[in-house]
């Protein structure tokens, strides 16, 4: 620690701190040094010169952001010299800056405006013409008014340092320099929206929010982002009700949480709110009467739902009912959903809509993940990433990994497509989905392949698979690196979870982790997977953690078996399920489908009987459990969700009430949450469960073709799919192509642009016709065709497909 003085107050700071860091750490009551280019998360530019302070015995004022403190230093931030310098810099900044705050979208939340007030002196002495700069179109998210730019370069540094993409640069020189993408184009980064927050002036503002409201008309409510498993903290800005408009969510911005999202937010979490008031939004309960939909009141809708469901149960037993809930639902919703259905005797309950392989589910841990590792990601030096388009799945976790790589960390990847993560990868195994399992087995072989003892205690097919491998140099390299690293981290992504041999991947990665002392982390592309496990929205486990002897059907089986009735909560199975074809058939054939959803779609109107409108996560109350096992509660941001929609937990509670189930008397979500907490705190004891058989190894022929069907970032859930600015970025025509490598193209005798038909590998699968696009990033024996797109329903995001030319 170093001792020094700021404005006469004695202060200590870590050696190597800059003056501004030390002053900020000491708090505003000590001093607040004005700044524009400085940002604690970005490299130091020292170029705006706003932070000039006087240092005793200094020849001239020094920039506080770039000057390190030394013992005994005496710093004056408000002395005549310092104020003079700050004032003059301010007047330089203002000469070319428009002084029309009242019409600027940043008005009221502008750092330049705030600071210039403090200095009083406006630059009336400037009468030369102001510079004006042409605005750039950088896409649907960010509006530019580059004449307002003060060249602080925060946005440029953000893009290259945090987003990993040199999209913005400084073009030109001197007074003529401009911040710009070179060739005008939409920014590609999935973190681009952060530059709106970073820009201290109104040069970069939110395009969807533009001119919709002034800062002072809004009130902010804390919320938790609901599109990935990080649980980013957000502030939701709401415009009060007026005569002309009901209360509305106008914008979402980031709320700092150093442990999770730091000060950042992904564009998906920032802009998904734009889907809230989409025409598809369910405003009132609806019932289908003799094939015709009609809006109705809650009482009627609930009565109809109750009757229909009770009818099915009376006639076919509760076994004929299945319940599917979205893993983006809150813990409370998951809990009530399973409690309600279980109280009716329904055994088929699941949230794992994207999973294909449920083997070994009994053996999977009670809690989804216990690895507190988000903050330590940056210190991790070796990563093995299995089955993930991580940049799209987890934008902010990716940026932490990026920072680690900037410090020299190595990232090894096993994936079916050579996705671009905008970070430096050390090793890549780009192999077919089955090849992914083999590569992992090969790594295991390098690590302990000769150890008979270890192999013998493993499930037979897995031991056999490990023995069969002939590791290549890349696999050797990865194994060596993991072995040599102190604390490597193995990450399994959404593609691993959707993998038809997920159980193999899981067991192999855990075995490897134990062998080398690594941690493993399952990244999920939903907000509350961990919470859904805890709340046991699962067919095989009760809330007390005890496994059920004869488990109900899992999410896949439920759809494959075509039950008489389905209860859906918060999802659109024809987009969200790993089995969209199965889902459509099963739901259409069912006698009664009750849907709790914020949105309707065409298919839903065909298969459903009752639609109950619920809140989206931005309007909801409850809690999410993130990837680290942290449970974060949030309160309702708005007085009431859209139109007649209700918070999901209330709908479930009332459904239970209507069906005469006892024990569903919660008055508030808090009551429910605390009951749940009590349940969860009960020691969850893992029982000893005897090993189960693994399914045998598949037979993979030379002609087997696998599909990689990842969910594109903005096709991931109901809300983002309706967020129009984000959809503009999702060029569907580009996605809806069948991408494959040149080798497979030759093998199939197809060329770029040819039309082929693709279908899942079962006899009566409906084929889809698509254009071929040759893309070197796709692994051998693999085609890439994303999931979640309209009119492309193929079962199995990572399974064998048939292609006919």
């Amino acid at each position: 620690m170093i001792k020094f003085e700021i404005d006469g107050k004695k202060i200590q700071a870590k050696s190597g701190s800059t003056i501004i860091e030390a002053a900020d750490a000491a708090g505003v009551d000590v001093s607040h040094i004005p700044r524009f280019c400085y940002h604690s998360k970005l490299s130091i530019a020292a170029s705006c010169r706003m932070c000039l302070v006087e240092v005793e015995n200094g020849r001239k004022p020094l920039p506080a952001c770039a000057t390190t403190v030394t013992a005994g230093m005496k710093i004056y931030t408000k002395s005549h010299q310092a104020m003079q310098a700050q004032k003059e810099v301010m007047s330089f900044l203002l000469i070319n800056h428009p002084l029309d705050c009242p019409i600027c979208d940043q008005g009221g939340e502008c750092e330049l405006q705030d600071l210039s007030m403090g200095y009083g002196r406006t630059s009336t002495s400037f009468i030369e013409g102001k510079r004006s700069i042409k605005d750039k179109d950088i896409g649907p998210l960010i509006a530019t008014e580059m004449t307002r730019c003060i060249h602080c370069t925060r946005c440029v540094r953000f893009c290259s340092e945090i987003a990993g993409l040199r999209e913005l640069g400084i073009l030109g020189r001197g007074e003529h320099s401009e911040i710009s993408t070179y060739v005008e184009h939409s920014m590609q980064s999935e973190l681009a929206g952060n530059i709106i927050d970073l820009c201290p002036v109104g040069a970069l503002t939110s395009k969807p929010f533009r001119f919709k409201a002034r800062a002072w008309e809004l009130r902010a409510r804390a919320g938790i982002a609901g599109h990935d498993c990080l649980g980013s903290n957000i502030n939701i800005h709401i415009k009060r009700e007026s005569d002309s408009q009901p209360e509305r969510i106008m914008r979402v911005v980031s709320r700092t949480n150093e442990k999770l999202n730091e000060t950042w937010l992904s564009d998906r979490d920032r802009f998904s709110y734009t889907g809230l008031y989409h025409a598809d939004r369910l405003a009132r309960p609806m019932i289908k009467q003799i094939g015709k939909w009609q809006e109705t009141d809650w009482e009627t809708a609930l009565t109809v739902a109750t009757q229909k469901l009770q009818n099915v149960i009376a006639q076919n037993g509760a076994q004929a009912v299945g319940g599917l809930i979205s893993p983006n639902s809150t813990v409370e919703e998951c809990y009530l959903f399973q409690a309600w259905l279980r109280s009716l005797g329904v055994p088929h309950i699941d949230h794992r809509i994207r999973q294909s392989d449920f083997d070994h589910q009994i053996q999977s841990p009670l809690v989804w993940s216990t690895c507190k590792c988000v903050q330590s990601l940056e210190e991790t030096t070796s990563f093995l990433l299995i089955g993930s388009f991580i940049r799209e799945e987890q934008p902010l976790i990716t940026s932490r990994i990026r920072k680690a790589t900037q410090g020299g960390a190595r990232v090894h990847v096993i994936n079916p497509v050579d996705f671009d993560f905008h970070l430096t990868l050390t090793n890549r195994c780009i192999v077919s989905p089955w090849g992914m399992v083999c590569s992992l087995a090969a790594i295991a072989q390098v690590l302990f392949g000769n150890d008979k003892k270890k192999l013998n205690i493993m499930p037979k097919p897995i031991a056999e698979l490990i023995r069969q491998q002939k590791p290549n140099t890349v696999e050797h390299d990865i194994a060596r690196d993991l072995q040599q690293d102190k604390a490597p981290l193995i990450l399994l992504g959404a593609l691993a979870q959707a993998h038809p041999y997920f159980s193999y991947l899981r067991v192999l990665s855990e075995t490897i982790a134990i062998e080398i002392g690594a941690k493993t982390l399952h990244l999920t592309d939903s907000a509350n997977e961990a919470g859904a496990w805890l709340a046991t929205a699962l067919p095989h486990r009760r809330i007390d953690g005890v496994s059920i002897k004869e488990p109900g059907y899992n999410a896949k089986a439920m759809l494959a078996k075509t039950l008489k009735s389905y209860c859906l909560f918060g999802l659109e199975p024809t987009y969200d399920s790993a089995y969209p074809e199965l889902a459509r058939t099963a739901l259409q054939q069912a006698e009664c489908v009750i849907v709790c959803s914020a949105f309707k779609n065409k298919a839903m109107l065909e298969y459903a009987d009752v639609l109950l409108p619920i809140a989206t996560h931005l309007e909801n109350e409850g809690s999410f459990v993130n990837i680290e096992g942290t449970r974060q509660s949030f309160q309702r941001s708005v007085n009431k969700p859209f139109a007649e929609a209700r918070c999901g937990w209330k709908v479930l509670r009332v459904l239970a009430n209507f069906m005469g189930r006892p024990g569903f008397d919660y008055q508030t979500v808090l009551e429910l949450s605390s009951e749940l907490s009590r349940n969860l705190e009960n020691d969850l004891q893992s029982e000893h469960i005897p090993p189960v058989d693994f399914k045998p190894l598949p037979t993979v022929s030379d002609n087997t073709v696998w599909r990689c069907g990842y969910w594109p970032i903005y096709r991931n859930d109901s809300l983002v799919r309706r967020a129009e600015p984000l959809q503009v970025l999702t060029v569907e025509q580009d996605l809806a192509k069948l991408r494959l490598g040149a080798a497979l193209a030759t093998h199939l005798k197809v060329n770029n642009g040819d039309r082929v038909s693709v279908s899942s590998d079962h006899p009566d699968a409906k084929p889809v016709t698509l254009q071929v696009l040759i893309d070197q990033r796709i692994a051998d024996a693999t085609v890439c065709l994303p999931s979640g797109l309209p009119d492309i329903a193929i079962n199995g995001p990572l399974s064998v497909v048939r292609i006919t030319t």
Partner: protein, 427 residues
């Protein structure tokens, strides 16, 4: 007075740049001697310190002292850079050294590298110096052939590789850290210091940068001895210096003469003020240095100390002479416009201030001046000075402040009458 005895010592020869001619004046002898006799680097460093050689790139920093900052011991890659970016208006000496005596620069660089323990050097020429670049390429090729460059120079076990590199049109790349960025293939944005290049230079490694003239002086210093060199000039003002005298003189040119020579003597050498006009003003060190009235200059010697006493600086030794018919408002507008065009744009005061002063002065020149403009001008200049990352800020501020200091009446006349005093008088 001795002319052309250091950097220009081959100037009198036909094809002064040839290796042969350079050898004929004792070229590469010092390098051979040092390597053959295994003279310890510290000895040479001591010589350089004694010679009172100061940087010829503008700032006049003592060269020996600069060299001592690069710690010899550390076993990491270090770099030596020669700065031939020469862009300061009025300055054109380095170009002549490169055209007339490239081998002397190369010998100077090899010796410097030997003293500093660097094995790689870059010679950065401004992009417009295409022909000088060709000449240096040829000279380096010859030096490699003769075994002066490359691995195991003259069998001594010393290695040094030297490469010419080219800029592409940016005055700021003469600033040492901008130059480093430029070699790294980036925009020429000066770096914040500290760390200084001696600790964090090219590719983040310890680096020493010197001007062309500084490095080219080294072989001669070692040939004739530190004392000889020091005595050419006054105290702390060792050696001779190339003065580029331009503007309103009869024989503009580069003259290598001892430091401390009276300005009036140089003016005579340059044939006096043209057209029999009277001298009005002189900028003694490149356009960024403060201007001085001709009368003051006539009393001043050309060395670091005398000029700073007179209120200006030696800078690059580029002397710009203005006769009595020069409009000082017009001259200042021309100077600030250069800095406006060349500001890198990084720091607020420089980026915004350079445009502001230029527009303001042009407005005054155009007869649109207003009362208060001059105070405002002064204020802007003060607001830039000392507030920027690199010394470019001073380069804008000093001309403005000095022109106002010495020729304020002329500016006031412009504002009051909406026209030029000089032009009126000439008419």
């Amino acid at each position: 007075m001795q002319h052309n005895i250091v950097c220009f010592r081959t100037r009198h020869l036909d094809q002064p740049w040839s290796l042969e001619n350079y050898r004929s004046v004792g070229g590469y002898k010092q390098l051979e001697r040092i390597l053959n006799d295994k003279i310890p680097p510290e000895h040479i460093l001591e010589r350089i310190k004694q010679s009172a050689l100061r940087g010829r790139g503008g700032a006049g920093f003592p060269t020996g002292l600069k060299w001592s900052f690069l710690s010899r011991g550390k076993p990491i890659q270090k770099y030596l850079i020669c700065n031939s970016d020469e862009g300061e208006p009025g300055t054109c000496k380095d170009h002549d050294i490169l055209m007339l005596n490239p081998h002397q620069l190369i010998e100077g660089m090899i010796i410097a590298a030997y003293v500093l323990g660097t094995t790689v050097g870059y010679h950065y020429l401004r992009g417009e110096f295409w022909h000088a670049f060709q000449r240096c390429e040829q000279a380096i090729k010859e030096a490699y052939q003769e075994g002066y460059l490359g691995k195991n120079i003259l069998g001594s076990g010393v290695d040094f590789d030297l490469y010419n590199t080219l800029g592409a049109g940016a005055y700021i790349c003469g600033e040492e850290t901008a130059l480093i960025e430029s070699i790294e293939g980036k925009r020429g944005w000066p770096r914040f210091k500290p760390p200084f290049p001696a600790n964090y230079g090219l590719y983040g490694l310890p680096t020493t940068i010197n001007n062309t003239e500084t490095l080219a002086s080294v072989p001669v210093i070692l040939q004739h001895g530190a004392k000889w060199f020091a005595h050419l000039g006054g105290k702390e003002n060792g050696g001779s210096k190339i003065f580029s005298i331009s503007g309103h003189v009869n024989q503009p040119g580069n003259y290598e003469i001892p430091l401390g020579t009276p300005f009036s003597e140089l003016l005579n050498i340059a044939g006096g003020v043209w057209k029999n006009a009277r001298i009005k003003a002189v900028i003694p060190g490149g356009s960024s240095m403060p201007v001085l009235p001709g009368e003051v200059m006539k009393r001043t010697r050309l060395d670091y100390d005398s000029l700073s006493k007179a209120g200006s600086m030696l800078g690059t030794g580029a002397i710009i002479v203005m006769d009595e018919h020069t409009c000082m408002v017009n001259a200042l507008a021309c100077i600030t416009e250069f800095y406006y065009e060349e500001s890198c744009g990084q720091c607020t005061p420089c980026r915004e201030g350079s445009g502001w002063v230029t527009r303001l002065i042009k407005r005054i020149e155009a007869g649109q001046g207003k009362p208060g403009d001059l105070d405002c001008l002064e204020q802007i200049a003060k607001g830039i000075e000392g507030r920027t990352i690199c010394a470019f800020g001073e380069a804008i501020a000093w001309p403005v402040r000095s022109f106002l200091k010495h020729f304020r009446a002329e500016f006031e006349y412009h504002i009051e009458h909406g026209c030029c005093q000089v032009a009126a008088r000439v008419r």
